[in-house]
């Protein structure tokens, strides 16, 4: 394989356990998003749009959906003759197998893969953020600063800074200190978990870190602090624009709702920075004579007879006459029968909400909670559901259901 300037390593092994029911059957990067996409589409599309065509995808947790979704990367135009997408699961050697113990370990275990490409730089990405970013500008910044490592940062509101990994930087953007969740933050520049390293240097740190029994083998906790301690030249690359870690149900819901703004910060309709995904072949959706839709995103193959307000509707959803969907996310192949109500809910694939049923998040102290209904749930006619429902359940008419 010819030498590559930069290889991207995309960490996609996380379970995303805080997404609960949504990640019971698949890894977080494979979770559906925005009416058509999966979360990983954003990072992969960024790679293609930034001219990076060699991407290793590190998988570990329930990877089947992700593996068959990624294939050889054709959807993101990454099925190149020299390059492409390589899925890198943990594997067995002569001495037995080892699971990925941390983000740094995952890269370390695939050192042979990176060596075979012999890149100048390695770009480390995570597969669970929603954002558009031109990585080639970050590489340019890294090269111009003759940096050993560059970390993308975003300015967060000061009052939230203590929830992030914060970079303290000098005026030339050189990183002087990295503090995980500081009580009294000196800066509001949060790490986005996007790193560029010079491969030869990173390689040495990974080998050393691997032998360190006390290390948790994590970039943020171990490798980066060690590099800073050793005085390596590390710079903070400032990113401005939309960026969201969809780590919790609430933030996942918010990120979906953000697409519905009049002028969304992240514009999926921009042809100059397309978000690619695997395209289903479904007919155009049909909006019935008495349907009403506003402030919503609707995908192909849907039949909408009822009302859709401020919601995200995935392909092949049926919404019956008189049904009302508001502030919700409805995934593929869901049926909302006539006169049912869905409010502030996330409804996973194949689920059926019976006639006159009500599925709605309850008001809480800080506004209302979003409820999540899993895959392949059947909610009977006239049932009222105001709690999460795990996948594959049958709910008879009656009151709220606890998660099982």
């Amino acid at each position: 394989m010819p030498r590559k300037e930069c290889v991207a390593m995309l960490l996609a092994g996380g379970q995303g356990s805080r997404l609960g029911i949504l990640t019971k059957k698949l890894a977080k990067p494979a979770v559906l998003f925005g009416g058509k996409y999966r979360i990983i589409d954003f990072a992969l599309s960024n790679c293609n749009n930034s001219g990076i065509n060699t991407v290793g995808v590190l998988t570990q947790y329930k990877p089947l959906a992700l593996n068959s979704y990624i294939g050889i990367g054709a959807a993101w135009d990454l099925d190149r003759k020299n390059g492409g997408v390589y899925v890198l699961p943990p594997y067995v050697r002569e001495q037995g197998g080892e699971w990925y113990k941390g983000t740094a370990d995952a890269i370390c275990q695939n050192m042979n893969f990176i060596d075979s490409l012999n890149p100048e730089y390695v770009l480390v990405l995570s597969g669970d953020h929603i954002y558009k970013m031109d990585y080639s500008e970050m590489i340019k910044f890294h090269v111009e600063n003759k940096a050993d490592a560059t970390i993308a940062v975003i300015a967060v509101p000061w009052e939230e800074a203590s929830r992030f990994g914060i970079m303290n930087t000098a005026s030339d953007r050189r990183i002087t200190e990295f503090v995980e969740k500081p009580r009294h933050p000196q800066s509001n520049l949060a790490s986005m978990g996007i790193y560029i390293f010079n491969w030869q240097m990173l390689r040495q740190y990974l080998v050393a870190d691997e032998q360190n029994q006390k290390s948790s083998h994590d970039f943020g906790k171990d490798v980066i602090p060690q590099m800073l301690e050793d005085g390596q030249k590390m710079y903070a690359f400032p990113f401005s624009g939309y960026w969201k870690d969809v780590g919790t149900v609430d933030s996942y819901w918010e990120a979906n709702m953000d697409l519905l703004a009049e002028q969304p910060e992240l514009d999926i309709h921009d042809p100059a920075w397309r978000i690619y995904s695997v395209n289903p072949t479904r007919p155009p959706h049909y909006l019935g004579p008495d349907s009403h839709t506003a402030n919503s995103i609707i995908s192909e193959g849907c039949l909408i007879y009822g009302e859709v307000e401020h919601s995200v509707i995935f392909p092949d959803v049926y919404i019956g006459p008189g049904a009302r969907v508001k502030d919700s996310i409805i995934m593929s192949h869901v049926r909302i029968e006539a006169n049912a109500t869905v409010d502030r809910a996330i409804i996973d694939q194949q689920t059926v909400v019976g006639e006159d049923a009500i599925v709605a998040g309850l008001p809480e102290a800080d506004g209302r909670k979003i409820i999540v209904i899993g895959e392949n749930v059947t909610i009977s006619s006239s049932a009222v559901v105001d709690k999460d429902v795990a996948s594959d359940q049958q709910l008879a008419a009656g009151s709220g259901q606890e998660e099982r």
Binding site: P284, H285, Y286, G288, P289, T293, A294, N295
Partner: protein, 371 residues
Amino acid sequence: MDLMGVINLYESEELLQELTRHRPLAALPFGGRYRLIDFVLSNMVNSGIANVGILFKDKYRSLMDHLRSGKEWDLARKRDGLVLMPPSYSAYPGVGRCGGEVDSFFSNLDYLRFSRQKYVVIAGSSVLCNLNYQPALDYHQRTGADVTVLYTDNKCLNDCAGAVLVEVAADGRVTDMEVAASANRLGRLSLGMYIMKRELLIDLIDNCVAHGGYDFVKHCLIRRLEFLKVFGFKHDGYVARISSLSNYFQHNMELLNPNVWQELFSSSGPIYTKVKDEPPSKYKGGSKVTNSLVAGGCIIEGCVENSILFRGVTVHKGAHIKNSIVMQKGIIEGGVMLDQVICDKNVHIKAERQLKGDRGYPLVVKKGMVV
């Protein structure tokens, strides 16, 4: 499956006017995101056919772009798959360069000879339906027919010139067959789909060329009707034959009936087409869309009723589209009123323009026009 397909693109398209000036009928956009050829191709693939030859006529650039390797229809195969048969050229002395479809068939006869399937189904692209060829093939084998013609009980009502009509006896035998000229003498509309043994097709074409014939139906089939055992197989589902602007418009509008929508797009398998990377469509506050089909990538702020929007159409606030078809990437500005209009691809209607056609004679805005 022991059946191969041949799609014959020698079809009459004069009555479609401006819509087929740059593209063959087979590449005409339909139903929000398809082209006509998608229907017959998907039917073949959904029936298990893995070897499909396409007999090209002219203006094939858009069609070549659409089909490419055939991957979208699962026909990018190492064996068989999609085989493009361009118009005949001077390879066979004695057959003129601009000969008819039979000459073109004849110059591609080697492809038929080297195919491995025993049976062949020949179809055009202008008749839209969703069917599986297996029952028709079973019927063909059971009756021992030489040729089985698929037909519908519906009559041809609208712009029938060029339609193939048949008379079918009670035992299924086709007793008469005609290509409608000005009057419709026979009762039933054929789907223009014929099943026969591959060897028979080769023989019919060779014989036809040798006797100076050039029109497949008229000269290879109708002229020999009394010597062949021709049976009819009735298809009961929805059928749309596209041959003129007015029936093109009418059949598009029929898709606003969800029963037609569901039957045509999924009754015996999905209709495949070339996919594009479009985001889902967005309905902004103030939009009002009823009884309409909307494909991906649209942004809608205005009012749309009884209409079909193709991929990537933008409808600005205050625009009003009714009983109309807006193809790919159309931009409809504020204050515009469209009624009974077909906007071809990449049309831009500027603010406050009002366009109105008639149901029987919709107004066509040419590809790429700014009005």
